[in-house]
Amino acid sequence: MVVRGVRERDAVEKVTGQIPYALNVTLPGMTYARCVRSPYAHARIVAVDASRALSLPGVVCALTRDDLTDGRLFPYYGAAIKDQPIVAIDKARHVGDVVAAVVAEDPETAAEAAALVDVEYEELPAVFDPVEALRPGAPLVHEQIVGHYEIPPNPIIRPQNGTNLINHMKVRRGDVERGFAEADFVFEDVYYSPALHHCALEPHVTVARWEDGQLTVWSSTQNPYFVRDQLAAIFRVPPERVRVLVYTLGGGYGSKTYARMEPLTAVLAWKAGRPVKLALTRAEEFVTTTKHEARVRIKSGVKRDGMLIAREVEIHYNAGAYADRSGTIARSGGIGSIGPYRIPNVKVDAYAVYTNRPNAVPFRGLAVSQVAWAYECHTDELARRLGRDPLEFRLQNLLHTGDRFATGEELEDIHFAELLEDAARAIDYHGPLPAPSAPERQVGRGLAVIIKHMGSNPATTRIDLRLDADGALTVLSSTVDIGQGARAVLARETARALDLPEEVVQVPYVETGTTPPDQGTTSSRSTFFNGLAVRAAAADLRRQLVELAARLYETAPEQVVVRSGRVFAPGAPAQGVPWGELLTGAGVASITASGTFGTQIWVDPETGQGKASHHWHQAAAGAIVEVDRETGKVYLRKLHLATHAGRVIDRPNAELQNEGCATFGLSQALFEELLFDENGQVTNPNLADYMIPALADFPADFSTTLAENPEPDPEVHGLGETGLPAVPPAIGNAVRDATGVRLASIPLLPERVLAALEAREAGTARTNG
């Protein structure tokens, strides 16, 4: 077969197993690293002695805190607050915290040597719950934050010394007390989302090599430029001395954001004087990245006619031992907790709190899935308490284009009602309930609709287009292909912007030495940002081609036309000149055009007022479930997920994003939960005990909508995370509909559902008796 274009080439490499991952990187003289990890959740490190490990044949070197405290290196890194040491310096802050590392000729020797590093600990009282961690007198995870750690300027993140508070985000709009006073009904609920693990099948893998004062790092990272800059700071070298190469990632979902194992691996390579590879074990993965556990208290005031007039929300996000992006998670979740509803009086307090749990980092559906579970269950309960239909109640209160959001910003391009009605249609919401497939089962239907920000910061993307004299067109981008098909989309959007066949466009892998700066492949931002940066770069390329042709053919630039890979100009051949020939004729080897797209967003952390997102991601889900009264098991019979796409660029890949969000969402609703013992140790750090869904768990009846705007060139909306937050509450609401029982915590495990059913039976019996 003839293989053409980036999309097909990548696809062929995928089905033949030849697509490259960081895991495949092997270098001459390469050595292997293994971490030494704390068995305690919170402990002062009294002594670290690697001498027994170093005496093992095949061991190259060991890294302890002594290597970090002599001033040669800057020993900390972190996404917002540089609070994470390369290996523990004074304390271990969670079970699994890295306290030392060893390098050996082979992975087995490295593992053996790691067990021979002697660490003396003095155990300290630990705190695991974010609410407890904010109480006066709670153990401090970090004794001092401000004035001790480097905190790059960030007006949003406001940690407080002497507490475990990383950030307190406030939203204040209208007068919430007056709103509650004027309400005819006020209802308050508490909802809970557990810690989770990302579970990318490819673990975190980094290979680092120092050569002639240059550091080269191959890594499975979603943020190559961020990694580059953090490494440069650690080694106190200019960023140009660090090169980060990224191939395809074997899954990310947020776990490979910012810097993870790159600082340690690079420092090990520096100390070993040899290339070092570090690939985490599956068990290590579970203590390296987790999703924020969250407790959400939500209170709403409603008028007799069903209008929402006040909402107060208090959120505690469990950030774990290091801040990472938790500050912005409090911000995004705080703002997102109002939901897609028009509510004039709002008060939100969102806290991100240090604890002695493993690090919580961005996770697909960032910050919003926890609050959406709360507000969409709560919305359902509000409707039921008012005797209203949950769909109608939602439709009455949904935001529309032109409304103001809780941030005060005027909303554009809003489609919540259409998406929700689409989901309702898909589950035949107004029709009769389907019959249960067994007599002991009860059937129910549920809906949910959500709003999600795009990106969490002002962000910038640059795209370079390089045209060579042989006619090859190369897109240089630092967007990472995590499986979403980013490279294929770049090729397609470039071809579209330049009116070229897609097959002629090349997209090399990320290498920070040649591909231009990018904020990172996070926040469902890449397709949108890249599309606009590509257009700007394409305009620049056309301009350069016009200038070149005008010079070559000695004509005015206005006389030159650039179309379909050719230039047309008076004096040039009538059929036009291919771009490559134009370059050759002008004696130019190549030209590079650049395009940049950036967004500016800003909210006041004291009031949440401002502009929180360039545009808003929108989704709705509908679910039909059967609940077995005897076992408590929930069977998902039908799931529909509708997202606003604006414009679909690559339909199969766009559908795959919704299908992936549906899989993650149903898994969070029904299966997944990271479990800890009382000492803060993860008790299910493997795929036998931590359940991720298989094909048989995915509903046979699944459908999805990618809503597009009718106008000719609508704005593209990212889909990577958009649909996820709608799915768990749609399932939770369906279980409520089927059973009459509301479960406040996910996952809806059979034993929990059964206990809730039995508790209700007991309650009913008492009432009747």
Binding site: T16, G17, I19, L23, G251, P693, L695
Partner: protein
């Protein structure tokens, strides 16, 4: 250390292994077959699936020495970019993957199923393929890919 002969993708390879070495390590590190990937390491996720005498096995749980004398197939031996196997071609046609870390294992499992059971029903496909986890959640299109391969197989 001992030298064993592994028959992989139709060719015999002399390889030196330690007694406890897994087939996964032998194929990946010893023979450079990078389609064989560790996921969970405990035989749950199916990412390291290879066919041994036509049946799917987790290479992470199989000792290399015990695979001697048997016919081992990885996707490298199933098809190449120039000559894809019909199952690979169906996954290509239906975009039955995202990050594709799990894809070689799923394709081999599907291959074994189609060879053994060309009349498989949808329910049987869903059940049989549930030993291979796709964290990206590409299940709709994985099932569609296998259905497509099955339909093409039946029409020939």
């Amino acid at each position: 250390m001992e030298t064993i002969t592994l028959r992989v993708n139709g060719r015999a390879h002399q390889i030196t292994v330690r007694g406890h070495q897994t087939l996964l390590d032998a194929l990946r590190d010893g023979l450079g077959l990078l389609s064989v990937r560790e996921g969970c390491g405990i035989g749950v996720c199916g990412a390291c699936t290879v066919l041994i005498d036509g049946r799917p096995f987790s290479a992470c749980l199989t000792l290399a020495a015990l695979a001697e004398g048997r016919e081992i197939l990885t996707v490298e031996g199933l098809g190449t970019a120039e000559h894809l196997d019909p199952v690979q071609d169906a996954f290509l046609a239906r975009t039955g993957f995202q990050c594709s870390y799990c894809t070689p294992g799923i394709i081999l499992t599907a291959k074994a199923l189609l060879d053994a059971c060309p009349d498989a029903t949808d329910e049987e496909l869903r059940e049989y393929l549930s030993g291979n986890l796709c964290r990206c959640g590409s299940y709709v299109k994985i099932l569609d890919s296998v259905r497509t391969a099955l339909a093409r197989l039946r029409s020939h």
